[in-house]
Every structure is written in structure tokens, then in C-alpha cells.
């Protein structure tokens, strides 16, 4: 846990921000995602020590260090696996998982589907900028097939991954899309996701101003979803498959029972595990 906030009568967003300063590029959408997470936690009045933020690898996966919550900056693509174990073992914690499109949909793609399927009570926030930013601009699973750059001349020609539909088809019980240019709206969506029992998936359109500067235009395309969330997965799938990719809001909220937590009783102490790794 990073710099523990002094308990106050009313928690505000600043109580969830650590003293570590983000190293993201100026203009990066991830700044407002961090801000929205802290605003959502403040709105929910969840003490930082009752929240864990788990991530994988990538620019956006740095978020745990920037919060005062418990944090785990794990292995590339394995954030959901670590978070699943944590939530099942410590059900009293609110567990947020943060990462990017490369970490979540490529390296961790299989974990993504199975996390949706298991429906463990997690909130998964993916900052999607359609590019691997940390490694200097390679095409990611959500990159448009005709995105022309030095590393994929003429584009990859490969159809983009559709995370919201995959999440829905795999069993996520809450599916939403947010935009980094609207941190207040995003905070509300994150708060709804945390409140929702089961696996909540929030795709955040978060422009990479360095490697995809054209994404600054997203703010001119996003719009509120014309209708409220449905609990009908088939209807949600039709809407998501046919929308323009810029509908913002909660798109699906089902009522499938979450995976039951069963912390059980520990029969071994941490030293037993450490002993197994001794050389």
C-alpha cells in the first residue's frame, strides 16, 4: 500500500492519490482515468485500505503506484489472473484492475475472456488507445487494419478486436464505454461498475497523443449512448455491433450471479511457500 491517507470524516479524490507523479506523456488520456478512479472511490467513500488496484504491463498499468490503495503491478497480461485470486481470497476488498489494450486483449486476451466467463466481482478498466505506446507505437489488437505507420506499412490488414462484444459473449455482467475527455462522466460509470456485483468491464477511449495524435479528434466523435443500459445480452450485442464505436455510457447490466468467494481456511503460512522457492 502506498502512502496511507490520513483518515478523514469525508474522503475526497485527493485521498486516493499517492505522492508519485505519473510519467505519462503530457496530454495522455490516462491522467483523467486516474482522476476518474479517485473521484469514483471518493463518491463511494471506500477507504483506500479496502481497495486494491491490480495491473499488468504498459503505460496505463502504472496506475496502482499513483494511488494510495493497495497495489499490485504484475506480469504482462496477467492482471486479471492475479486480481481473480485476490478477490476470491479476500472478498471484502474492492478490486479494480487497470491496463491497456495490448496487455488486456493480446498478451492477456485469454484471461480477459475467462474473467468475463467466471464473473468474479472485479471492475476491469481498460484504457484503449489502439496502440502499444510504451514500446513506441506498434499496432495492438484494437488498431484499425489500415493504420499506416513505419512498423506496419500500409496497415496490418487485420480486423480489429471488438472488446465489448467479446466481453458480452464471454459473460461479463456489466459492459460500458467511457471517454477520457469526460472524467466526471467516467467516474460515474466506474462507480456504477464497482457497485455492480460480478465482472464489470469498462472500456475507456483514452487517446495516445504521442503515437496516435489523430485520436485527439475522438472528442469530436464521442456521444452519449442514445438509450440506457439493457439487461438483455442479445439486444446489447446488436447495439454494440452496430454502433459507431463512440457510444458512451453503460451499455449492458445483467444480473448473473457473481462467482462465489470462498476464502476457506489457510492451512499453510507464507513461510511454507517461501521455503519452496529457496535455492
Amino acid at each position: 500500500m502506498n502512502d496511507v491517507a490520513t483518515p478523514t470524516a469525508v474522503l475526497v479524490a485527493a485521498n486516493y492519490k499517492s505522492g508519485y507523479k505519473p510519467i505519462w506523456c503530457p496530454g495522455c488520456g490516462d491522467f483523467t482515468v486516474l482522476s476518474a478512479i479517485t473521484k469514483a472511490l471518493a463518491a463511494l467513500q471506500l477507504p483506500p485500505h479496502e481497495v486494491a488496484v491490480v495491473s499488468g504491463i504498459g503505460c496505463s498499468s502504472r496506475i496502482p503506484a499513483y494511488t494510495t490503495c493497495y497495489g499490485f503491478h504484475g506480469v504482462h497480461g496477467r492482471a486479471l489472473a492475479a486480481a481473480t485470486g485476490l478477490k476470491v481470497a479476500r472478498p471484502e476488498l474492492t478490486v479494480l484492475v487497470t491496463g491497456g489494450d495490448g496487455d488486456g486483449y493480446s498478451i492477456g486476451g485469454n484471461h480477459f475472456m475467462h474473467a468475463c466467463r467466471r464473473n468474479v466481482d472485479l471492475t476491469y478498466i481498460v484504457m484503449d488507445n489502439h496502440v502499444y505506446g510504451m514500446t513506441k507505437g506498434q499496432a495492438s489488437p484494437t488498431t484499425e487494419p489500415d493504420w499506416d505507420n513505419k512498423l506496419s506499412p500500409g496497415g496490418t490488414g487485420i480486423r480489429s478486436f471488438h472488446p465489448l462484444v467479446i466481453a458480452l459473449a464471454s459473460g461479463a455482467s456489466f459492459v460500458a464505454r467511457a471517454f477520457s475527455g469526460d472524467p466526471n462522466g467516467m467516474a460515474d460509470i466506474i462507480a456504477q461498475g464497482v457497485r455492480h456485483p460480478g465482472f464489470s468491464f469498462i472500456e475507456v477511449l483514452s487517446p495516445c497523443v504521442t503515437f496516435r495524435p489523430e485520436q485527439r479528434e475522438w472528442k469530436n466523435h464521442v456521444h452519449a449512448a442514445p438509450v440506457g443500459p439493457t439487461d438483455d445480452a442479445a439486444r446489447a450485442a446488436r447495439r454494440i455491433m452496430t454502433d459507431d464505436g463512440f457510444n458512451i455510457g453503460v451499455l449492458y447490466a445483467g444480473d448473473r450471479a457473481p462467482y462465489p468467494a470462498n476464502p476457506g481456511t489457510a492451512t499453510r503460512v507464507p513461510a511454507d511457500f517461501e521455503a519452496e522457492f529457496e535455492l
Binding site: 503530457p26 472524467p183 487517446p207
Partner: protein, 171 residues
């Protein structure tokens, strides 16, 4: 614009939220610029954050508040996704110069001035109207201050964003 807040405390809570959001955003910018060793612009954003912080403190003092009031359910109903005085997150660049930063600040102050002016016209509460006009006048002063400041900084060359070691090669 809708009639907006109906009472003076509601209005002042909205004005306070606007100032506090501006503080947060300017602080984020200052931190980011420091991280990228653009110290001159970082210092300027830090100064802007301090100014906005002073305005927030004035409102708190004036209203006798020790904590910021909770935002109303559904938010403050800003005309845009963020408060008028908040510079959008994507409008900065790691090589930007003070002139750019001041242009962003000027645009933010102009938005705030217009917001209070429109609110003063739309409200049906006399106390809210008076307070909105007062804050509009304050924002106008800030506009003039930033304009005067802008005259003291050089306009950047056309190639200000050219980085000899760019993160992204296009050729």
C-alpha cells in the same frame, strides 16, 4: 443555458467546483511538464494552479465552508464534459512553450467569464445573479491579466514542436 443553481450556496458550490477542477488540472499539467523537464511551462502551470487555489479559498472563506460541498446528484451540468475553467487534458504538448500555456489559460478564463455571464442572464434568483456578475467581473480581470502576461512572452517559432530525437519516426 438552463436556469442553473437556484440558491446562492448551490451557485457558490458550483463556482468552487470549477476552481478546484482547474487547480487539479493545472497541477497535473505542472507535474507532467516537470517530469518531461519542461520546467518553464511547469512553473507557469504551477502558478496558474496557485491562482485558482486562491480563488477556491476565497469562496470557501466567503461561504464559511471548511470542506467543499458534495456535488449534486447528476453533477453540476457544465455545458461541456468538464468545468469551463478546466483546460482539456489533450491540449498540452511536452515541447510547448509559455506562450502556448498562456493561450490555454486565456481560453479557460474566457470560458469561465462567458459561463458566469450566461448564468447571470438565465437565473431567476437575484442573489445568484449578483454573485454570478461579481464572478464574471473577476474572470474578466483574469482575462486581462493573462493577456498582459502574453505580451511579455515570445511567440514560438513555427518549428517549436520539432524534436531532434522524436518518439515517433514517420519516414
Amino acid at each position: 443555458m438552463s436556469a442553473g443553481p437556484r440558491t446562492l450556496p448551490e451557485f457558490m458550490a458550483q463556482a468552487l467546483a470549477m476552481e478546484l477542477e482547474a487547480v487539479d488540472r493545472y497541477t497535473e499539467f505542472a507535474d507532467a511538464m516537470e517530469m518531461h523537464n519542461n520546467r518553464e511551462v511547469a512553473s507557469l502551470f504551477r502558478t496558474m494552479a496557485q491562482y485558482e487555489g486562491k480563488h477556491a479559498s476565497q469562496i470557501m472563506e466567503q461561504m464559511g465552508w471548511t470542506d467543499a460541498p458534495k456535488p449534486p446528484a447528476g453533477g453540476f451540468g457544465w455545458p461541456d464534459p468538464e468545468a469551463p475553467e478546466t483546460v482539456p487534458i489533450d491540449e498540452v504538448h511536452y515541447l510547448m512553450q509559455p506562450w502556448h500555456a498562456l493561450q490555454l489559460a486565456l481560453a479557460a478564463e474566457l470560458r469561465a467569464e462567458a459561463f458566469f455571464g450566461e448564468l447571470a442572464q438565465a437565473t431567476t434568483s437575484e442573489s445568484v445573479r449578483r454573485a454570478a456578475l461579481e464572478l464574471q467581473a473577476e474572470e474578466h480581470e483574469h482575462v486581462e491579466l493573462v493577456r498582459a502576461w502574453l505580451e511579455k512572452v515570445p511567440m514560438p517559432d513555427g518549428d517549436w514542436a520539432t524534436d531532434p530525437d522524436p518518439p515517433r519516426y514517420l519516414d
